[in-house]
Symmetry: C2
Subunit: 360 residues, 2 copies
């Protein structure tokens, strides 16, 4: 078939122009006679690719100079251990906010290394809201406070950045990074698995305020030591070079779109259009408190679950792919990251309109 | 330029047919309307890609059924920590053989988790030989014995598999995996960073005898726990899907070449040709004891180091790339992995002949 609209939550759709450039350069990058994936990571050519990608990421995300940017491996799930191993120091406690499945996973892993104080949880609401920060029970001595700005599975997104005073703020930005403007200086550390808004899976981008480096616990594997990664420009060993290159192509594309300010406007519009449609049609529903609805992941249910299979089959016939919701939530989920064009959202709404009319 | 002969030690050259297929499938894998890197790792399409790759690897490498095959991230350097964290159990000691720079790195990392007993070292010879196993000082109670069958930097390769009795044998196969037949049943665990004989960097393939699973220390990050990876088909989180796919294409290519028996013959011939030339020409030299010369990485020096830059410039002008030796060794190094065609070795020898005649 021709290119489909792929609503997968991750690995997710990539900009077509990025894939075309990667195709074009697959056997011979700019006259070198090599694919990027065949280059020494220490070659001038690859270093240029790597440094340009970092520079573009810093510019796009607005990463201040006193932050190190790292290109690591192992996905956000590895960061669930890497964060406490590096940031706890001698401190026995870390604060976590629980707003869904990914928060819960982060908490479980951190609990293996320290006392996790869950400052607030929206579990009792079925994770349909963000707990009001005025009621958060923070520790006096937490090494950091961790939260998940966007819950990919639940479709719940913070519309504010928590204030934590002197306690470093840490965020799993996997599914929201670069989707709207962000004041990185409010954070001690952010990390993001690449496979949603950055590039292919197998890469995780970290920005860490430099004063937080150098506190890794003795048992920290060297490859998980932020200080070692920072000192070696993320090349203590061979990094995921091809993924880094593809991330760089995505960053270039984002700059061409106007950066995160422009993307934020487009993403706000895409999400509003889809939620407005869902709210205006009795056949579909989304359970999240409107203020905290994710711009990136839009779960929705049909009025009758018995129609789910038909809905998915009809969508697939129109090249609207991967709309099945996560097994823990059920129903449908449309992930509409940066690379999902507005036309894809329009096509989805057209299909949903027709399906509701015919089967609702 | 057209495709060059790329002698890089890693990331290394890949089969041109593999790159062409990847190029062909970049925007649309078999009519799905998606690139492989855009597919859900839990989709039927990707599971087929992943399972086929594992099956082909098992067939090529001859991995017995009582071994788990894992597709992990973080490179061999992550395995330097992952191995002791998973295999030590309550045992305080592990045996290591030191035959060069990569052995040394593995020893340094393991020393952070246990008492490392270096059973033998060829450091005093400048790592130009493999210590005679009759003199190895093994521990009575080692959790395992680790060695590096091929030292990528030194160009030193074991021509035998050590006998360790009941002690599990562990090997960093990064630069020798699939290059010649191997009896995997002699090993407790083998691992290999992909970027030499398997595919792009950012992927590491592990084969572990299943009775060695389940002994991870409490501080082991979940993403480094072999048992967790085995239980989840290497998909506890999102794996490096595109690298896994590319590895699968390389495995298909290897099968088309006749598998590791055929590759072993070709590799033996390629290496013999190059070493015979070096030995027969006073201008070039290789320091390794002939029996232990690597089939994969061929370091060599010129009679006069002052000519190194001219040699490299002349090579590059002929599209013979990345021949500069590792900074710790100096001189030149030609890495001639599976994907380096014999014609590339011939072209290198032609150039070396001419250079020695003109400048020697």
């Amino acid at each position: 078939m021709s290119r489909a609209y792929n609503f997968c939550a991750g690995p997710a759709t990539l900009p077509e122009t990025v894939l075309k450039q990667a195709r074009e350069e697959m056997l011979d990058w700019r006259g070198t006679g090599m694919s990027v994936m065949e280059m020494s990571h220490r070659s001038d050519e690859f270093l240029e690719i790597a440094e340009t990608a970092e520079k573009d990421f810093r510019e796009l995300a607005g990463v201040p100079d006193d932050y190190a940017v790292l290109f690591m491996q192992g996905g956000a799930s590895s960061q669930f251990a890497t964060v406490p191993l590096n940031l706890l120091g001698d401190c026995p406690t870390a604060d976590y906010v629980n707003t869904g499945i990914w928060s819960t996973k982060g908490i479980a892993e951190a609990s293996r290394y320290c006392n996790v104080n869950v400052v607030a949880s929206s579990a009792s609401s079925g994770f349909t809201t963000v707990p009001d920060p005025s009621g958060w029970q923070t520790s006096d001595d937490a090494a950091y406070l961790h939260y998940t700005p966007n819950e990919t599975i639940g479709g719940l997104e913070f519309d504010f950045v928590p204030e934590t005073g002197d306690t470093p703020l840490v965020a799993d930005m996997s599914s929201t990074i670069l989707s709207r403007p962000l004041d990185v200086s409010k954070f001690g550390l952010i990390y993001a698995g690449a496979q949603k808004n950055i590039g292919p899976s197998g890469l995780v981008v970290v920005a860490i305020r430099k004063d937080l480096l150098g506190k890794a616990r003795p048992e920290t594997p060297t490859m998980m030591n932020y200080q070692v990664m920072a000192d070696n420009g993320s090349m203590y060993n061979t990094p995921a070079t091809y993924s880094w290159y593809l991330a760089g192509l995505v960053f270039k594309w984002l700059k061409e779109q106007g950066g995160v300010a422009a993307m934020g406007e487009i993403n706000r519009r895409k999400a509003a259009k889809l939620y407005d449609f869902i709210d205006g049609n009795d056949f579909y529903a989304n359970p999240i408190e409107p203020r905290f609805r994710s711009w990136m992941n839009v779960p929705f249910t049909l009025a009758d679950d018995a129609l789910n299979q038909d809905f998915l089959a009809g969508a697939e016939a129109r090249s609207l792919l991967n709309l099945k919701g996560h097994r823990s939530v059920g129903g449908m989920r449309a992930s509409i990251y940066n690379a999902m064009p507005e036309a894809g959202v329009d096509a989805l709404i057209d299909y949903m309109t027709e399906f509701a009319r015919e089967r609702g």
